[in-house]
Symmetry: C2
Subunit: 428 residues, 2 copies
Amino acid sequence: MELITYPNPSQWAEVVKRPVKNQADLTETVCDILRHIREEGDRALLAYEERFDKVKLTTPVVNQEEVDEAEGLLGDELKAAIRLAAKNIASFHEAQRFEGKKVETQPGVTCWQKAVPIEQVGLYVPGGTAPLFSTVLMLAIPARIAGCRRVVLCTPPGRDGKVHPATLYAARVAGVDSIFKAGGVQAIGAMAYGTESIPHVYKIFGPGNQYVTAAKQQVSLHGVAIDLPAGPSEVEVLADDSANPVFVAADLLSQAEHGTDSQALLITTSFALAEQVKEEVERQLPLLPRRDIAACSLENSKLIVVRDAQQALALTNEYAPEHLIIEAREPHALAEGVINAGSVFLGHYAPESAGDYASGTNHTLPTNGYAKAYSGVCLDSFVRKITFQELTSVGLQNIGPAIECMARAEGLDGHRRAVSLRLGRADV
Amino acid sequence: MELITYPNPSQWAEVVKRPVKNQADLTETVCDILRHIREEGDRALLAYEERFDKVKLTTPVVNQEEVDEAEGLLGDELKAAIRLAAKNIASFHEAQRFEGKKVETQPGVTCWQKAVPIEQVGLYVPGGTAPLFSTVLMLAIPARIAGCRRVVLCTPPGRDGKVHPATLYAARVAGVDSIFKAGGVQAIGAMAYGTESIPHVYKIFGPGNQYVTAAKQQVSLHGVAIDLPAGPSEVEVLADDSANPVFVAADLLSQAEHGTDSQALLITTSFALAEQVKEEVERQLPLLPRRDIAACSLENSKLIVVRDAQQALALTNEYAPEHLIIEAREPHALAEGVINAGSVFLGHYAPESAGDYASGTNHTLPTNGYAKAYSGVCLDSFVRKITFQELTSVGLQNIGPAIECMARAEGLDGHRRAVSLRLGRADV
């Protein structure tokens, strides 16, 4: 890891720059696949499954027997862990229920908002090197709490034609309605347009590789909502000299093992800590099964020593990390100053892993600096807030003249007339 | 207007189909302009202003004297109307402030959300046939209430190089920080990338023509958030036999005058009402200054008679109107059944114009069926909800074993170690 000491604020933008990906333009390939799915439905989907996931399926549908079987295959300890995580995720997201207030903005003019669940949502959970069953919990549990009528899950099968049992068990615990064996662009297309087997949905959630990301972007240009723009995962540890270098190093490494394009930053006011963490990272790295991946992403990672807490916060807000762990004597005081971050972890006993799995917060978060404009997934992501208003005739008398005047000034006389006619004015 | 009686549910999708726009692919043109703005800043911006808005500017900046002058030019009645509308919009959006709850999901594990304003936001307000100063209020007032540090407004100048005085006055009332003379794609590019004069922002709001829409889509693919995907405006009136055909016709026409691609639907249980409204629309149409536009969009518009209230609601939810006016004896009972809509108006005295201007609700709403997945602009649109969590060492002991087990099952041993090390386990 590169150690950078006391960078000048003029260098900050450069210091917290993310590694630039040389992103291939996948638009054409992705649009081709999406078009096939739209035109040919299941037939195209199964053909792509054979081509990309190397599996010959007769149907994408996962049936109840497969879920039952998965439950039998899984160890009790893991099942209990999944249930504990599910319980905490449910508690935290339950507390996010929206209670709208009625506001009488003028006598006789009452306005309010009401949260209404999105009727049909689609969740995508990648396969690949690790079965991300925790993501099933993070997406399906809030969908259920929000009250979405239909919660659909697509995930690619292994070469044996089966979905990982932990994914199926998590889907059952979280209350997913229907599970389908479908991966990549073809899964996104199936949920966007619907096929004979897979219902179309109004919003698609979930992580994925650059093809999945490009597919989500494409369908989002044509009316299907998506959760978040995606980028490589990242963590920042913000630490003072009270931090334990062993913990800090483990936190940086837990991010680094995600993928070769991950990034981990330490921003600290303590030069001594930075040096200790550097050594500790080198000591712990060889102990990781995924050390090759972690070693790669450590090349994008940095230890940055700054002058004081204020600089540390300013640099943090410039970086806008997906995950921010504050390992400091007074984490609350520092947390108050955080403007740009996805999820913040306070104190020496709050590793990112807690939020990744089981504390209750969501792990679908804005990466790549998107935290400056986006929230992570939360209960809000699964509802719309519809506005309502009721006017009595007195209410319309109170605001009618203002409406008439503004409509006239905007050159929209039909808008004015809808009011004037109701007020019984002679001039209509 | 086409009158459709008792359509079979199998025909519904066809009945509420929106007119398909033959949308040209503007991507190349738009990307060219965006690239020039990014590379050449103000110089490119001013050149495009000359080319598209036919005005030679030396700077895009609107100075305080221009705003002062605008205030002097505007009539007192309009200024009072703008202030009344601003007050109501402020009251309603103030009531949307988010109060997060702290949740202890397990002893020693505390999670919460905090709303933090997006630091820099950009508002786009089109020029064109009518000065849409009401949109300035709808976007800038919630931005101010949310606490956005910098609120930037771009709007195209007239050929005299000036911005309409009502737009400038509304911007002052709403508390916009900086106003710039910039329209179209070049304005979106300036706010996305920044120029010498115009600061870059993290999220861009506001309506516009198909070029502006395409530009917003393009920048949204590269990290700048946008408010909503845009489409033609639309209204549905849901009415029973208690509705006044004069009011209903005026409401349909007030939507029809927006633009030639607008759509207005009446869905009613009363055949008599449908017939009366049809006649009344024909009677009122010639009275509108914008009758040519309205006549065009009435060709996309329909009067639909259905069997009962349940069918009316089901068809409404299938259509997912931007605006829904319920002119019926029991509007609340019907409103309970609304699942898909942007903004709902209850009763015989709540025309869409009320929400367009002055009742307090926002008029930036999901069109084109997007109400199935998107909310309109509200206070939430200007904040992010950052999650926080704090764990004590007891808290980590409570959920640590579950995290370790799940991380192991996902093949992420570094994630497990960040917990195990803190729990002082020997096996690390």
